[in-house]
């Protein structure tokens, strides 16, 4: 069994952002030399997400509005978590979007459907944060 580990670093210039990372994961799969296996891609921070969906700007605007409806950022005082912090909404938004994805590796390639793209979802940005890529297989 082979294994491979890599970290991706982000510092988004806005509090919330979606960053496409499919190409970076493809590169990790290549570097790993794994032909058949699984890749785990997870946010290492609890106010960020890794998810798979469409690379379409309109949809990303819909996600932003929808998450603000489900778990509004303001007023900050509505959340018990927001004493020294102001990011309770980011914990909730990331919960909706998910912490991680697991993707198959087949014949040395990321085994994605035709429209599947992997994204980093940031909900409390303006600081350096990480995503973990872990591959196991053969």
């Amino acid at each position: 069994m082979k294994s491979y580990r890599h970290e991706l670093w982000f510092e988004t210039p806005t509090r919330r952002a979606f960053v496409r990372i499919t190409d970076e994961i493809v590169q990790c799969v290549r570097s790993s030399g794994v032909r058949e296996g699984l890749v785990l891609v997870n946010a290492m921070h609890i106010t960020a997400s890794v998810f798979i969906n469409d690379d379409e700007g309109g949809l990303h605007a819909d996600f932003e509005r929808w998450l603000e409806k489900l778990a509004p950022e303001k007023p900050h005082s509505q959340y018990a978590h927001n004493g020294a912090e102001d990011n309770a909404d980011a914990h909730l938004k990331r919960t909706v979007m998910g912490r991680e994805v697991v993707v198959a590796i087949t014949d040395g390639r990321l085994d994605l459907g035709p429209w599947e793209q992997i994204f980093y979802g940031e909900f409390d940005g303006l600081r350096r944060k990480r995503v973990l890529v872990k591959i196991i297989g053969e």
Copy 2:
């Protein structure tokens, strides 16, 4: 290490549907010959879901109503994604339900709890779509 890959195809006769696929995954585990490992089951489309819950019609009706409340289909014009498309709500609903499940394989069997059943969740049906089953183990 052994690996196994299989696709399940669906074309639901309604826009939204839940289809139980536990038996198909059990069959994949058998065919793989894997005794100890993991099976990844994921929608290959971004308006569909694979999830685990109860095989109970009342609950499925509750899911349908609940998802329509959280992310209503209509009016289509409420979503920026809906220019040429009308399925923005399906992207959001699938986000709530999840893209994938990972299930343990133990002693050659799917290692599920007593009431766990695996479902394909369709939110933009009436077309052919796929689920990927990937198994690794020994």
Copy 3:
């Protein structure tokens, strides 16, 4: 390839509860002898969750209020599932929080970010329920 399986049992004294289980998973990783691999931690019951987030009481109170807003327990009669049962809301809440997490094992250790803690989320407690820990790797 090595594999390891363990069950954690819970019986929470309240209908809803969050229980930190990071230490138990660390112990499983040690017992497995796996240095590089993946650990799957999943609820074996469909009204419970395993998720990763912050070990902070204010945030847990926020989760409780937020989930009650998204999928209120009462009136029980609002859900088709609640004939003989009264736990439809628990099925929905667990869907938001997620069934499982997959975590990397690197150099014999659970490969978590600085604030990541693993939790069992109970939404229909007062009875004995299980979490499955499955490890594969080398």
